[in-house]
């Protein structure tokens, strides 16, 4: 890679790549922890609201916001993946090859994360929050 970019753009680029790799997984982790703990703790304590917000609403937020996060990561990872197509030679620039590998990993991770969040959202649609 002969092209040079400013150090700030390079820093942002590096961070964006990591967001593309881990953004979806982080969103899903937030979704999973928030939705589960809200549901289990509120229901065990016999509440059907969370500080005034109905439980269903709180859980919906815990699905929708992470879903948005995972989608954003997915978009960045697709962009990165398309722009980092490795050169045909196996011994092409290894930094590009490495970054492309990370983009592929991120792309798939984001897809899975989004799938899990959506699956969880479906469960929230089907099951009343405190039914046992």
């Amino acid at each position: 890679m002969s092209e040079r970019v400013s150090s700030r753009a390079a820093l942002v680029g590096g961070l964006l790549l990591w967001f593309a790799v881990l953004g979806g997984a982080l969103s899903w982790a937030v979704h999973s922890l928030a939705a589960w703990s809200i549901d289990e703790l509120a229901c065990e304590a016999g509440h059907d609201d969370l500080a005034g917000v109905p439980l269903v609403g709180a859980i919906a937020l815990a699905v929708l916001l992470p879903a948005a996060g995972a989608t954003a990561a997915l978009v960045v990872s697709v962009l990165a993946w398309r722009r980092l197509r490795p050169e045909p030679r196996e011994d092409g620039d290894r930094a590009t090859g490495r970054a492309h590998l990370l983009a592929v990993v991120g792309l798939w991770l984001n897809l899975l994360a989004l799938a899990m969040i959506v699956f969880g959202g479906v469960a929230a649609l089907v099951l009343p929050p405190c039914q046992r």
Partner: protein
């Protein structure tokens, strides 16, 4: 950050960025150690909230009073700023100023020791009201704070060790790792205290 920067950042040359100078093995070692220790604290404080919300009101239970905030705030005021002399010492070793290392570490030693003393005072006060066996609240309070206190103690051991090593000349601008490792650990112990302050002392009032 302008849109132009973002466009550049998303060019291949931006995306493939790697830090110009990699970290040392010591840096990675201590960071991973801190990560795993941090997980212990996260799980411990998570358990606090799990037990608390399942317990229901009132919290603290069994007529135990809300935690008194005065002493903990003083402790915070002693412990959190103690990161500064450590950072100062770390800056000193990079310039090879061994006196600065020693002075910074001594200050930290004093502040950390003071913190432990204050924690002893707090225990003395609280133990009259409840102990670790009274109920789950007592267990949580003492185990969380003692566990953190043990980390402060370990940190102080490390500082003492470093003072001794610095005196012997084993630490220099060329070998700053020991100072750095101790500094990272100390910052971690400080940060954990802030989380404990929130969980144990402030959150029952929310």
């Amino acid at each position: 950050m302008t849109p132009a920067d973002l466009r550049t950042a998303l060019r291949p040359a931006g995306l493939v960025t790697e830090q110009p100078v990699g970290r040392s093995t010591a840096w990675w070692g201590v960071m991973l150690f801190i990560a795993t220790e941090g997980t212990v604290f996260a799980a411990l404080l998570g358990s606090y909230f799990y037990l608390r919300f399942q317990h229901g009101v009132p919290w603290p239970p069994d007529g135990i009073a809300q935690p008194d905030l005065r002493l903990p705030l003083v402790m915070t005021a002693v412990l959190v700023p103690s990161s500064l002399p450590v950072a100062w010492a770390e800056a000193g070793i990079r310039r090879g100023r061994r006196w600065q290392v020693r002075a910074g570490l001594l200050a930290t030693l004093v502040m950390g020791g003071t913190f432990l003393g204050l924690q002893g005072m707090e225990y003395h006060e609280n133990l009259r009201e409840y102990t670790v066996t009274t109920n789950v609240y007592g267990s949580l309070f003492y185990v969380i704070t003692t566990f953190h206190g043990a980390h402060v103690t370990v940190g102080l051991f490390m500082v003492c060790w470093l003072l001794a090593a610095a005196g012997r000349g084993g630490v220099s601008a060329r070998r700053p790792e020991p100072v750095r490792v101790v500094a990272y650990y100390w910052h971690f112990v400080d940060a954990v205290w802030v989380a404990i302050l929130f969980t144990v002392y402030l959150s029952p009032r929310l």
